[in-house]
């Protein structure tokens, strides 16, 4: 410590002029750090101080940013109606809820034990709400009548249950956790964050936030096979009959999930205004069609109107491309489209075309809702892009020649250098612990291997009756073979993959070589396990 200066800052022998000079020099050195013309300080240690600044790791920066935004979204208070229209919507919902009590739309006969755990989740905890309601119906109960038909004793039981569950006020924010293997009956709640757990291994992983202005309810589907793959934004067409008229409602809804075990009952979140005729369509729904919202195409007039927003250079064109993979966690608005393809005769020739955000045009993706996850194959997703003609021709060649088009959402556009992103369907995975974005994981695969004769490239012992036998592994589990007994081998296939996104699929950042292996394993339905790297 300095001999003439105490720790409380008092001088015993102040030299204010010297101190002032040094403080000015410090200020100058700090300003010079950000200046394009760097004038070194005459005090060497100041140069060292301003030029030895720690650099934030870009991967850390991106991962932390994503986690923080997630945390902020979770911490948002429930939406309160502000405009007169929103207030009117809320009032109509409140009235409608009262009608629900009289005629709950419990539409599915249930013979199994029925449980619903209503768990106040993180948001509820934050706003001081903590509650848990659980109810059960014993096996063997008679099935209740269909919704809105009759008012028998069994239906009355359901009414009471519904009344219990709907004790939440219209503005409550909470989390619903569904027991994955049990059928559930869900009553509407105006605004909620729904946590859907497709398997116990994925507890707390798959969260679908419901935007303000959306309301959650259940719908009956007719002749539609529902599975968790349909979750996400969908265009739903609901037909119902009233006064001998068939009325059709077309709405963009978020499929939150299926009611487990009841393939024709799904949970959806729909815009509040679509509940205006709620009583009619919930009670009298006759037909519901699910159409991928993404395949909704604008009319020519709508498209032209959207294109007019852009000032296209003379040699630029608008075209559409099909998308095979979506890599994202929140919003595709402003997302990055990355197209990679192998073209030409040489297998080694690999071209990639990145369409910058400015030129990315997505009229086929609903702009109003950011929820969109999954594999493009399931959605028939097309995106519109604006490109120079030269790139458009290249794109055409790519599409004709076998290609992969992925869209990377805006918050995930910076993969660690040298890696690519691969979406792994979560149902084929097991985990050693809850995964979080940024975790490093090793991938284990269980493969059935058989011995092969290297010289003849044939299974051992050689099967001469079937020349088509190959020595390729793995064999499927169900394979019956007279050759050598397959051995189940669990092997670490990929190490140090980085978790980019956790939802109903896991997105991993891996090297291009590992991505090829991983895609093969996924296509072959090989059971995979993710374990945290040491």
């Amino acid at each position: 410590m300095s001999d003439n200066f105490s720790e409380n800052g008092a001088h015993s022998n102040p030299s204010n002029a010297e101190e002032e000079r040094l403080l000015n020099e410090i200020e100058r050195a700090l300003q010079a750090r950000n200046s394009p013309v760097h004038q070194p300080s005459q005090v060497p240690v100041l140069n060292e101080l301003v030029n030895t600044v720690p650099q934030v790791d870009p991967t850390f920066k991106n991962v932390l940013e994503a986690r923080l935004i997630d945390a902020l979204i979770q911490a948002q208070p429930p939406h309160q109606p502000e405009t007169s229209q929103e207030i009117a919507d809320m009032e109509s919902i409140t009235q409608f809820k009262q009608q629900d009590y009289d005629r709950p739309y419990t539409v599915k006969p249930r013979s199994q034990r029925l449980q619903l755990a209503f768990v106040a989740g993180l948001l509820a905890t934050l706003i001081g709400v903590s509650m848990m309601l659980a109810f059960s119906q014993m096996p063997g109960d008679d099935p209740p009548p269909a919704a809105g038909i009759g008012a028998g004793e069994q239906e009355q039981d359901d009414v009471e249950i519904a009344q219990e569950v709907v004790t939440a006020t219209p503005t409550i924010t909470a989390s619903w956790t569904f027991t994955p293997t049990e059928p559930v009956n869900v009553t509407p709640t105006p605004s909620a964050t729904l946590t859907f757990t497709p398997t116990q291994n994925l507890a707390d992983l798959a969260t679908i936030p419901i935007p303000a202005g959306y309301r959650v309810t259940t719908l009956n589907l007719n002749d539609v096979t529902v599975n968790t793959d349909i979750r996400g934004m969908r265009r739903i067409i609901i037909e119902y009959v009233t006064n001998d008229q068939t009325i059709s409602i077309s709405t963009q809804a978020i499929i939150v999930g299926e009611v487990e075990g009841q393939a024709d009952v799904i949970l959806v979140a729909m815009p509040m205004q679509d509940f205006e005729n709620g009583e009619d369509f919930l009670q009298n729904q006759t037909n519901i069609q699910l159409t991928p919202a993404d395949s909704f195409q604008p009319t020519e007039a709508e498209l032209n109107a959207m294109l007019e927003e852009f000032e296209l250079p003379a040699d630029w064109v608008f075209t559409t491309i099909p998308v095979t993979q979506i890599i994202g966690s929140r919003s595709l608005n402003g997302a990055q489209a990355v197209i990679e393809a192998q073209i030409g005769l040489s297998r080694d020739e690999r071209r990639s075309l990145t369409i910058s955000r400015e030129n990315y045009f997505n009229p086929y993706i609903p702009r109003t809702n950011p929820l969109f996850l999954g594999d493009g194959d399931d959605f028939d997703l097309y995106i519109g892009v604006l490109l120079p003609q030269e790139d458009a021709r290249l794109l055409e060649v790519m599409i004709d020649g076998g290609y992969q088009v992925s869209i990377t959402s805006a918050d995930m556009d910076q993969l660690p250098e040298g890696t690519v992103a691969v979406n792994v369907p979560a149902p084929s995975l097991v985990f050693d612990d809850v995964l979080a974005i940024g975790d490093r994981v090793d991938i284990l695969a269980a493969l059935s291997f058989v011995d092969a004769d290297e010289e003849f490239q044939e299974l051992v012992p050689v099967n001469t009756s079937d020349a088509s036998n190959q020595w390729l592994v793995p064999l499927p589990d169900t394979a019956e073979t007279t050759e050598g007994t397959p051995q189940l081998v669990i092997q670490q296939i990929i190490s140090d993959a980085i978790v980019l996104q956790v939802s109903d699929s896991i997105t991993l950042a891996v090297s291009a070589e590992d991505a090829t292996i991983l895609n093969y394993l996924i296509d072959a339905n090989i059971p995979l396990a993710l374990v945290h790297s040491d």
């Binding site: 010297e18 403080l23 240690v45 100041l46 945390a71 902020l72």
Partner: protein
């Protein structure tokens, strides 16, 4: 450049208030403060992993408390966020009292530079280690002030708020700390030259 096309100064208060209501408005604020908070913490703890962990904890606390943050004048947000960082480091040191940390160069943070070669990267890490070693010879308070000033990029007034001391005291500590650092730095340079 005419006045209309001149870049508008960033109003931090607006940024903070927008982020309080809109999560998507948070990233600009985050990108503004992340390098500063990380730089400050990295010098205080000395290794990359701890610096990243602590930085993540600091920002997590920031987003949790952001909705209730009240903006009370220029520099209030910076002082608030660095106060959180200061407290986190104190907690970290309490937890680490019994742990001996022997960091290799690999464990040190990278140093800001334009495309350094691997050799240059190592040299920069060595510079970081030497500079940090010199800084740790200062009293704890002066270490705080120097790291907040040079790596947290706080003004003296903001440092005063973070540490709960007078602005003038900060200035005095800072100038004395630089004098001490300068002497030691020059001495080590001479030693190396011999």
């Amino acid at each position: 450049m005419d006045a209309s096309s001149a870049p508008q100064p960033i109003n931090e208060r607006d940024m903070v208030e927008r982020a309080q209501h809109d999560p998507q408005a948070f990233p600009p604020l985050y990108r503004l403060y992340l390098p500063r908070v990380y730089g400050y913490i990295a010098y205080r703890v000395g290794n990359k992993q701890d610096a990243e962990d602590l930085t993540a904890e600091v920002f997590m606390k920031v987003v949790q408390a952001l909705p209730s943050f009240e903006y009370r004048g220029d520099g209030a947000f910076a002082a608030w966020i660095f106060r959180i960082a200061h407290n986190q480091i104190a907690v970290h040191y309490r937890q680490q009292q019994t742990r001996v940390i022997d960091s290799s160069l690999d464990d040190l943070p990278e140093i800001r530079s334009k495309s350094p070669s691997p050799d240059q990267s190592l040299q920069q890490k060595e510079r970081f280690a030497r500079l940090r070693q010199i800084i740790t010879t200062l009293s704890p308070r002066r270490q705080e002030i120097v790291t907040l000033r040079f790596f947290g990029e706080l003004k003296n007034k903001e440092i005063a708020v973070v540490l709960g001391i007078d602005e003038r005291t900060v200035a005095s500590h800072l100038s004395r700390a630089i004098e001490d650092l300068g002497r030691r730095y020059d001495y080590e340079k001479e030693e190396q030259a011999l």
